[in-house]
């Protein structure tokens, strides 16, 4: 029974990804859509960090570390890289959305659309 709490982060990650898919598919507001993508990124990052966790583990820094197991550092490095990339993606998305709003005067993905067919 003591292993069940360890699965909570994975459930939370799945929940975050699921909710963000719901937001991206059903919310027409472009800003909300971007929020959905940011949430999905957090969900995937949470999943990655949770992968490397060991019960009672220390942070993987050797400077004055107490004795005991350490958590896996690689997923944390991956998460950091992924966070950096997502910063760039979100900044670019927000910039483009501002431009879309200036051109069309609307933030609705249906009303601001010019390309179809």
């Amino acid at each position: 029974m003591e292993h069940i709490p360890l699965n909570f982060p994975f459930l939370a990650a799945a929940l975050l990804v699921g909710i963000s898919f719901y937001i991206i598919i059903f919310k027409k507001n472009l800003i909300k859509l971007i929020m959905g993508i940011a949430m999905m990124a957090s969900g995937v990052n949470l999943f990655l960090v949770a992968l490397g966790y060991r019960a009672g583990g220390n942070a993987p820094i050797y400077t004055d570390v107490p004795e005991g197991p350490m958590v896996l550092p690689v997923p944390q490095a991956l998460t950091l890289t992924s966070i950096v990339i997502n910063v760039a993606v979100l900044a670019l998305m927000l910039t483009i959305v501002i431009r879309i709003y200036r051109h069309t005067g609307s933030l609705d993905s249906e009303k601001s659309r010019k390309l179809k067919g």
Partner: protein, 153 residues
Amino acid sequence: MLSKIVRTVANQLILFILIFGLYVIAHGQITPGGGFQGGAVIVSGVVMLLVAFSSKELKKSLRERVLSIMESTGALIFIILAFVGIGTAFFYNLLVGTPIFGHIPPIGPNPGDIWTGGVVPLMNLAVGIKVVAGLSAVVLALALFSSGEEVEE
């Protein structure tokens, strides 16, 4: 532009944020810090200035041209440091064992020696410069966008 109290406090606080950011950058090789994290800390100070003063005020001191030069220089330093080791392999750590950042730390728990890491601290510094410039440009551009202005061309 916010009130004079906020502006004065922001002016004082930016120094501490800067020091903390530099600390995080400089200790990147032995603590969970590094170029991006420290740079992001410094940019949080820039965001504070952006809130305290307006984006128009900040635009005068943070020039787009200067930021662009800083960003490119940071990235170039990083690539040059990676190229330094190309005699053996790209990204090869040439400085290990030399007097500059050359100590080899003991395996296992240790008190932490900052004079380690070879080219890694220098790379952290380069990344720090790039991130500070790049992220400041991003927040400044977004702030100017939302107030209806353009970044200077």
